[in-house]
Symmetry: C2
Subunit: 351 residues, 2 copies
DNA sequence: GTGAAAGCGCTAACAA
DNA sequence: TTGTTAGCGCTTTCAC
């Protein structure tokens, strides 16, 4: 175990005053000190393996080089990718990322944000997707630079990186429509989350463009496979006439696969299905899923850029970056055909 | 924007000295102060929305309530789950987790660890899976409590949570053997990573138990689908007689699926395949993958427990927790049968 | 260009 | 039981 080395020690070894060490070691103030001394100090610091103490520095300067990230769940591949992107960009700028995972208990949101603020984070990335959001007020109130990722806020008080959900649903519906489908349903995400409402809105909008009924919608209780399966089952019961489904997310679509299998239905022969997100391995599922790809890593990267900007230019205008979604056509969608598997609402389950 | 509230302000409002505020607010020293005063202080703190400054506290006490986690890649579902588990447990104990993602550039490992140490983390979780490891020395040298997750170290100088790779491979091979397979191959992970060598060793050990040749091994360049596909192709070329493959990881197995498809081979009809990890959605791929399940979230939880223990009882003995793997039988494995698809090494690719 | 001195907000000896 | 004092390691005015 080694003893703590402070500037004091470096100063002694270099034969200068601690404040000179501070100036010599800080790139921003280095030119205030004589080059010869700079060398002496740098040498001494190297010899002693001196490391600057972030805490002391933070206490003095108010900047911690810490960024907080508030996300619902890291283990979802979506947020894992976003965090990875954030980390990548922020790490390059000398920041470290502190993660706070909200989980299901949204009442802890503010508490977690406070915790992050207590560590004096220089900025906050808000990845939670809930519509109702006192967090934005929190950041503004505490003057903490912040950006939203994977969601926008109606007030536009904070910059945000989002995917174009409306266009995405348009892409999905267009694809299905061009395949000949006319009875198109939607498995919507929870309506407390911005992606849930936006994608649903996009779906309805796309359908009205074709003058089709936009009432074939079932809202899933959460973004999970089980939620998707349950919603699909309800859809099948209430609207046996549907021939295509656009799901608000891949997990939901996977659940729809499960539901169809339990009813002895084949995808895409009986019903075509489009997912959303293109999470990993959706090309390996059965059938390979047609879905709308969103680059979540890119989202994280851009969110980090926006945050860096908000930190460095406090006066700068807020701005939203809207990422273009991309339709990835695989094999869960096919042309509409008459005379498919018999499937009344009461059809016997296969299992 | 609100002004910063310090203990000084609380003290003034409560009519006491700042140090009394400190004592009254800290549960550990609260009983040193008169209950009436405690109430007064607590009220004043609440009224002013006082929040203790972690940085100042850290500078004074040396404890930051920050834990660093060093992982190769957060966006892999494996480490995402581990981090989630770590976060869950550590969050409950009042710690926040700072993530450092190593990526491919392992030369940055020490640098990243230093960065974490600069923030005065109270402990470190080392999730990188490389065998060669100056990091352990780093932690010991700097007296930073640390634990290993998803890997062990030969010296056992640090506690670790690992999965029982030997047993896992035994499970896989037993399963294949009981199905009648005798030409069993292994797609190994990179041999610079502990899981790579351990699983390979487990494979060989399991095979010799059955007195079978253990030479049917191809090492993948990395834990990726592409790496797995390439290794599988080499296996197919060099050992067309194989009827079953145990892969060191699900991604590798997915790559093997790809390779088989490109050669017009069917799984499990032509070759049975066992994966490793049971990452999300492996039940939805085609065919649903037989694999060895490891609970990575549990790993994270236990690693956090171990770290908490290392922090709170510095003298305690190091210990390794070995998690039992579980074979999940799905449909990528089936009984060995004679007369399968013709498949010489030179068979035409399907695509 | 360099040194001196103050202080960021907190806690922990020590004194009362 | 409470107040006084000092100082964690650093940066940043202010003098020189």
């Amino acid at each position: 175990m080694r003893r703590k080395v402070t500037m004091q020690h470096v100063a002694e070894l270099a034969g200068v005053h601690p404040s000179t060490v501070s100036r010599a070691l800080n790139p921003a103030t280095r030119d205030m000190v004589h080059p010869d001394l700079v060398n002496k100090v740098v040498d001494a610091a190297k010899k002693l393996a001196y490391r600057t103490d972030f805490n002391a520095k933070t206490l003095r300067t108010g900047r911690s080089k810490l960024i907080g990230a508030l996300v619902p769940d890291i283990s979802s591949s979506l947020f894992a990718a976003i965090i990875s992107g954030i980390n990548h960009r922020l790490g390059g700028a000398g920041y470290s990322v502190v993660i706070a995972e909200v989980g299901d208990d949204t009442s802890r949101l503010l508490e977690l944000a406070h915790g992050l603020a207590d560590h004096r984070v220089d900025g906050l990335i808000l990845g939670n997707v809930f519509v109702e959001d006192p967090l934005v007020d929190f950041c503004i109130d505490h003057a903490i630079p912040a950006v939203l990722v994977n969601r926008a806020e109606s007030g536009s008080r904070l910059s945000a990186v989002i995917s174009d959900d409306l266009t995405a649903m348009q892409l999905a519906v267009d694809h299905l429509h061009s395949l000949g489908h006319r009875q198109i349903a939607h498995i919507a995400g929870p309506q407390e989350q911005s992606t849930g409402v936006l994608r649903r809105r996009g779906f309805k909008f796309a359908l009205t463009g074709f003058e089709l009924a936009d009432s074939l919608i079932e809202v899933a209780v959460d973004y999970s496979r089980e939620g998707g399966a349950a919603a699909m089952l309800r859809l099948l019961d209430r609207h046996p006439e549907i021939t295509a489904v656009a799901a608000a997310n891949d997990l939901l679509a996977l659940g729809a696969y499960d539901a169809m299998a339990s009813r002895g239905l084949k995808c895409p022969d009986d019903i075509s299905l489009v997912g959303h997100n293109d999470i990993p391995h959706m090309d390996a599922v059965h059938p390979p899923m047609t879905t709308v790809r969103i680059s979540h890593k890119e989202m994280g990267l851009l969110a980090a850029d926006l945050l860096l900007q908000a930190i460095n230019e406090p006066g700068a205008a807020r701005r939203n970056i809207v990422l273009p979604p991309q339709l990835i056509i695989r094999q869960s969608t096919s042309a509409f055909r008459q005379g498919r598997t018999n499937r009344s609402a009461g059809a016997t389950a296969r299992t």
